[in-house]
């Protein structure tokens, strides 16, 4: 298990958004988290990445309890994510956006930067190369010089993925990556996720597009009203009557 979530609970002003959710993610696999809108999926994501702190329960990553870590420390440990409403740095170019992803894997400090020491130059070169590589990986190799804000939405999503990969994560959390993409783009995205999995990176996925989830996920967890209602292989989930009434329909 690379990630283990145990009894995770979050209450907002008396309302329980997530109630004692527990699951694990095995290394090198794709796990999907599905459930109706407002079921608490994004809240769970935010607790894993540290954007909000859990009211109760633990998040264990690589055997270490990381509850007390702020987001950037968790990123340093190897957890990276994308966002439901794409979050780019719109006034930076695509290349610079992805170079920000290299932040963790370079270490120029303030003084080295100010004096532009050789260390700093080397870091810059390294980051640039890495960023170009990742942009090429997601198929944006020729868009690197454009401002992130001027890219089409699908491209921004891909750029966000490249940025995530540039931080050399062990685990990536994808929050509804297919939202707003059409059928064909979604298929392309599924291919990309599988390619990322091939690189040995573990994936936790939140998605409403069932076709994609069924195609890429090794295992699926279903939550509703903040509690886990089912867990299993895509096949099992597809036939689970609870899931059908709560989420899938028909």
């Amino acid at each position: 298990m690379i990630l283990e979530v145990k009894d995770l609970t979050k209450t907002f002003q008396g309302l329980t958004a997530v109630k004692q959710v527990s699951f694990g993610v095995e290394k090198g696999r794709i796990k999907a988290l599905i459930g109706p809108n407002g079921a608490g999926k994004t809240t769970t994501f935010n607790m894993i990445t540290g954007l909000i702190t859990a009211t109760h329960g633990t998040v264990t990553f690589n055997g270490e309890v990381i509850n007390a870590y702020p987001p950037h420390m968790r990123a340093k440990k190897g957890i990276s994510r994308t966002f439901q409403n794409i979050r780019t740095f719109p006034e930076m170019t695509a290349l610079e956006n992805v170079m920000v992803g290299c932040h963790l894997r370079t270490n120029t400090g303030l003084c080295a930067a100010a004096l532009r020491l050789p260390l700093c130059r080397a870091d810059e070169e390294k980051a640039r190369e890495r960023a170009l590589q990742e942009l090429a990986f997601v198929g944006l190799g020729d868009r690197s010089h454009l401002l992130a804000g001027s890219l089409a939405m699908g491209e921004q999503r891909l750029m966000e993925i490249a940025r995530t990969l540039a931080s050399e994560p062990e685990l990536v959390l994808f929050d509804e990556p297919a939202a707003g993409l059409n059928g064909k783009e979604t298929e392309q995205l599924a291919e990309d996720l599988l390619k990322i999995k091939e690189r040995g990176i573990t994936i936790l996925l939140v998605e409403h597009d069932m076709r994609m989830v069924m195609r890429v996920a090794d295992e699926i967890i279903v939550i509703n009203y903040g509690t886990k209602i089912a867990q299993g292989t895509p096949e099992e989930i597809r036939n689970n009557s609870d899931v059908i009434t709560a989420y899938l329909g028909k």
Binding site: P36, N37, G38, A39, G154, G180
Partner: protein
């Protein structure tokens, strides 16, 4: 009902719409498909008067509406449910719905507005339960219901929806499309823009396909569903 001819829209030097011609007849659900950035939202915005067309005509109910302000257009009877819901998060759910009545509020009787409200609550019982809560506390699916409800409160002669299924769970998408069909039965024509092409074409009577600001194909929805090009480009294998 709605007839658009040769519509052109420029966005800061970039031509977003190039000679669009489109029609919505009475009692129709027309859906417009297309990739991101094809100009679908711009089309709706120019019908609503948020964006002004550089050329072309939009005739609604026999009346030329291009060049009219958005508030005039709402008054004429076109109501849009915008992409991404855009509910007023700081207002209560009931107040959100009441905002839909803004353009006829002073002319309508209290009773007729209350009837409308009840009609919406019949469609979306979940909204009724939470009528006094802030809209910001709703989940994505509920917000979409609210946005549609707000559109209905405007008593539209034409309802336009921009990606109502965006980011919603399968079950809720189904609910929403059922409600669109129900509205259609009440003789409200609908112009629907959807990324989720399959679902859209299933309920639509006719469909248009847009690419790079142009309409490249149009036809009966059932025909489009079977078209090879559409299947490979938008529906996925």
């Amino acid at each position: 009902m709605l007839t658009i001819e040769n519509l052109n829209v420029d966005y800061g030097g970039i031509q977003a719409l190039k000679g669009i011609s489109l029609k919505v007849n009475e009692n129709e659900i027309v859906s417009v498909l297309g990739a991101n950035g094809a100009g679908k939202s711009t089309l709706l915005m120019s019908i609503s008067g948020i964006v002004t067309a550089s050329q072309g005509s939009i005739v609604f109910d026999g009346q030329e509406i291009s060049g009219k302000s958005s508030s005039q257009i709402v008054r004429i009877g076109i109501s849009q449910v915008p992409e991404g819901r855009e509910v007023f998060k700081g207002l209560s759910i009931q107040d959100n719905l009441m905002m839909g009545t803004y353009h006829h509020h002073s002319k309508s009787t209290k009773q007729s507005i209350a009837d409308d409200l009840n009609r919406v609550f019949d469609y979306f019982p979940r909204l009724k339960e939470r009528r006094t809560q802030f809209a910001g506390t709703l989940s994505g699916g509920e917000q979409q219901m609210l946005a549609i409800g707000r559109g209905i409160m405007a008593r539209p002669k034409l309802l336009m929806l921009d990606e109502p299924s965006l980011g919603l769970a399968p079950l809720i998408i189904e609910d929403i499309f059922m409600i669109l069909l129900a509205l259609h039965k009440e003789n409200i024509p609908i112009l629907l823009i959807e990324q989720n092409a399959k679902a859209a074409l299933r309920i639509a009577t006719r469909g248009y396909v847009m690419e790079a600001g142009r309409i490249i194909m149009e036809g009966k929805a059932s025909d489009l569903l079977e078209d090879k090009h559409i299947v490979s480009a938008y529906l996925g294998g």
